[in-house]
Structure formats: structure tokens, C-alpha cells
Symmetry: C2
Subunit: 254 residues, 2 copies
């Protein structure tokens, strides 16, 4: 297929703890669990009309929006990402038993302009993608651990996903080289506590408006159920001691 | 091929500036330059009896030591990494003209225990590798920019490469989760100034022995020709003001 410019949703996932398994267990066993896991995830991607770009050890790279155009590729990616977590949880006990380790599936995805098509050499050609969402989704996946999130998504995902999904704003960072500081979000499952999310959102608004006393009070209240809230309590305290330089873009180095 | 445990040398490279090109240029042109570049790099890997694991956009993942066992896989990787830089430089002007951007090839590689073999699903199977050197080499590649290096390598590479190659110790970091703080090195080409490297090595020894005044003097002398030296001058000044806590492992957050 000839390369073309398209807006795509690019996804990366990885099993936390699996590299250690590769060093500890019999190679045959490692590859057996890996195959079962990748097969399960691949099925979800294909069922959602996404494309599996490649495997990277226990990593999976996929995208939605090509070669099949989708009416709402971001919604498809959200559904698939949640379904992959669900399937992972269903198999987790069995896989952990085989691996002798706690395993966690973490993922990141983002939507944006790309070049997609057959790329490669005489040696090897693949239908694959290039562009900012590739680096962004990879970075979101690796940041997921930092924020204690299972699925972390880029700034435009919530608005494009539609009202069916629940998101928690986790921070403001410079995700792409070509853009400024932007919010990133955790995609939550259907069991997300909407009242709690509303409170979180109030706390984040207060925080970004530099009302750190008010923000701290709400984050303190949420801390017992939302682990990330404790980090924001600490941030509020630091920012009360040394207020951010104006104009503040909401970014913070912990 | 059945999965097996093997010590391998895993390599990642990437063109700095190429993602921007993908957004600016005609998709056909982008893929054309990409193909020429990947073909050139792939030829070097194959000529050195390495294995091209995969392409990741403008990224290349390769390894040495499987499926063909090599008498000195680290030496083969060093030679190939330098040859790739050479070929890149030969083509650089033409590629930059097509891309309208400055392009730089950065790479990282490391050696260590892995599981290697056919891995995948019913959907797709690849001969690939898992283990700490995969994450380490990827990280070294992305750190190369930070240190202004073209090729960054892991702690055991210099001793295993043999005396034909020149290395500059650039820092001490925690590269792998399972090990402590270890030195990382820049692999230099045959035109490296050996006298200058000797001075660098003296400065690094003084620095690690906490003789910061002595180290600073040598780094200052080297700063006009070695950009990284300026960073070490600043580090020495900071460490003179607030000495490291004993015992010091040589790591530092700039």
C-alpha cells in the first residue's frame, strides 16, 4: 500500500515484570506465556478493526484508523484498551503462576497525524506508521507506571472518545516536541466512581488555578482511594512554599 | 528456531530529526529516504553477521551472537556501529537535501543474557530477543542525545570489545533494574584523539575519587574540544559546594 498521510490512534502496551521472568524461567515457558498473552491481545485488536503493527518482546504496538478507516477510531481504541485489560485480568492468575511474578499490563495511546504505508527494505517490508503519535504513545506507556495508571492517553483522546468513557487528568507535560505543555489522562474502566472523578476534577481545576490550599484539601480527602492524590498533596505543599512563576503552564517536576 | 538462553549484543539506532520530516514532507519522499537509509544500515548489519530484528519507523533494532554464533560479537557490533555512522555520513548531505533538515544517527548497544528464538502468535511470528540488553540498548540510544554522543554503550562493552576501539566514559547510571550504578561509554571512531582521551580518563578518575578541584581543571582544559566537559565543570562546582554523601557511587542528577 502506498504511503499516505492519515490521522491514526497509535497504541503501545507492555507487561511490567516480564523482562525479569525472561531471566528467571525456562525459555520454553517464557515463550509459551508470551504467545498466550500476545494471542489474547492480538485478538482484541483485530476484533476492534485495529492493526497489529509489531511485537517488541512482551510489548505490543497497534493502531486504529488504517488500513480500515473507522467512524470513530479513538472510541475503538478506548474500547480495545479496556478489553485488553479485562482479558489480561481474566488470565492474570494463571500467567502469574507460570511466571512466579506479579504481572501488570500498562498501555499508552495517542491520536495524531502520521504517515502510514508499506515501509522497509529489500530485506523486509511492513505496513507500519511514522509520526508524533508513535513516540507519544510509547512515552505514555512508559509514564503509566509513574502515575500508577494502567492506560494513559494523550490530550485529545477524551474529547474524541465521546461520553461513554471515564478519564482522570493526571498531569500536564510536554508530550510532543512540536507542542507545548498539555494535559494527559488515565482511561478508566466502566466501574470508575463518577462522583470521585468529579471531585478529582474540582481539585485539578483548583490546582491549575493556583488555589493550592483548596486543591490540597480535596486531594487529601481523595488520598485513601486514589494513590496519585498523595503526590498532588505534596505538590500543593511545595507550591504553597514556593509559588510557581507566572504565567504557570501547570507543569511540575516532582 | 526453539527459544534458548544466550548472551547477545543488542543494538538500537534512530535518526534524530526524522519524525519532523515525516510531518513536513510528501509521504512518498519520506518513505523513499527511509528505504535508502534502512537498506544501507541493514547491509552493514548483515555484512557483520548480525541479525536485523525489526524496523521501528526510522529506528533499527539488531543483534549479534544469534542465530550465528560469533567469536567476538561485541567486536562485530562495535565495527558495525562505526561503519553505520560512516555510511550515514557519506549519504548525509543527499538525505538532508531531500529532507530539508539536519539529520543525525544516534545508537546504543549493550551485551547481556537474553532469551532468543521464534516468538509471536498465530498472526505473526518473528525471530527475536527478550531480556535486559533490549531495554538497556534502547535507553542508551535515547540517552546518546543527552550526552552529545553518536554511539553509547553499556558497562561491559569496552572490556569485551578488545583494544582496537576507543571509548570515552560519559557517566555512571543505573542502566538495568537488577544492577547498581555502572559506567556507560561513548564508542569513538578511529580518528579519536588518544592523548585527549587519556586526559579525559584522568579527569574522570579524579572526579570519581572526589578530587573535584583537580578534575575541574582538566575538564576546563578539555571543554573547547569536548562539549561534555563543560557539564562536568558545572558538576565539579556543584559538588565542591555540596559534597556527595559517602559512600558515593559516582552518580549525579544534573
Amino acid at each position: 500500500m502506498r504511503p499516505e498521510r492519515r490521522e491514526l490512534t497509535v497504541y503501545f502496551s507492555d507487561i511490567e515484570g516480564f523482562t525479569a521472568v525472561a531471566h528467571e524461567k525456562n525459555p520454553e515457558e517464557v515463550v509459551q506465556v508470551l504467545r498466550a498473552y500476545l494471542q489474547e491481545m492480538t485478538t482484541v485488536v483485530l476484533d476492534s478493526h485495529g492493526h497489529v503493527d509489531k511485537y517488541l518482546g512482551d510489548g505490543l504496538m497497534a493502531f486504529w484508523g488504517a488500513p480500515v478507516a473507522l467512524p470513530n477510531q479513538v472510541e475503538a481504541a478506548c474500547k480495545a484498551a479496556l478489553e485488553m485489560q479485562k482479558r489480561f485480568e481474566l488470565n492474570r492468575e494463571a500467567w502469574q503462576k507460570q511466571c512466579g511474578r506479579t504481572l501488570l499490563l500498562r498501555a499508552g495511546f495517542d491520536v495524531g497525524p502520521t504517515v502510514v504505508g508499506e515501509m522497509g527494505t529489500l530485506h523486509r517490508v511492513n505496513y507500519t506508521v511514522m509520526g508524533e503519535p508513535v513516540a507519544a504513545s510509547y512515552r505514555l506507556e512508559s509514564l503509566a507506571k509513574t502515575y500508577g495508571a494502567r492506560i494513559l492517553v494523550g490530550p485529545r483522546v477524551p474529547e474524541l472518545a465521546g461520553p461513554k468513557f471515564a478519564f482522570r487528568e493526571v498531569d500536564s507535560i510536554r508530550l510532543n516536541r512540536s507542542s507545548g505543555v498539555e494535559p494527559i489522562f488515565e482511561l478508566l474502566g466502566p466501574d470508575a466512581d463518577r462522583a470521585e472523578l468529579m471531585e478529582w476534577s474540582l481539585a485539578m481545576t483548583a490546582y491549575k488555578d493556583r488555589h493550592f490550599i483548596e486543591a490540597r484539601a480535596i486531594f487529601q480527602k481523595l488520598a485513601p482511594t486514589v494513590p496519585l492524590a498523595s503526590r498532588y498533596v505534596r505538590r500543593c505543599e511545595k507550591l504553597l512554599q514556593s509559588p510557581p512563576v507566572e504565567p504557570w503552564d501547570g507543569s511540575f517536576n516532582d
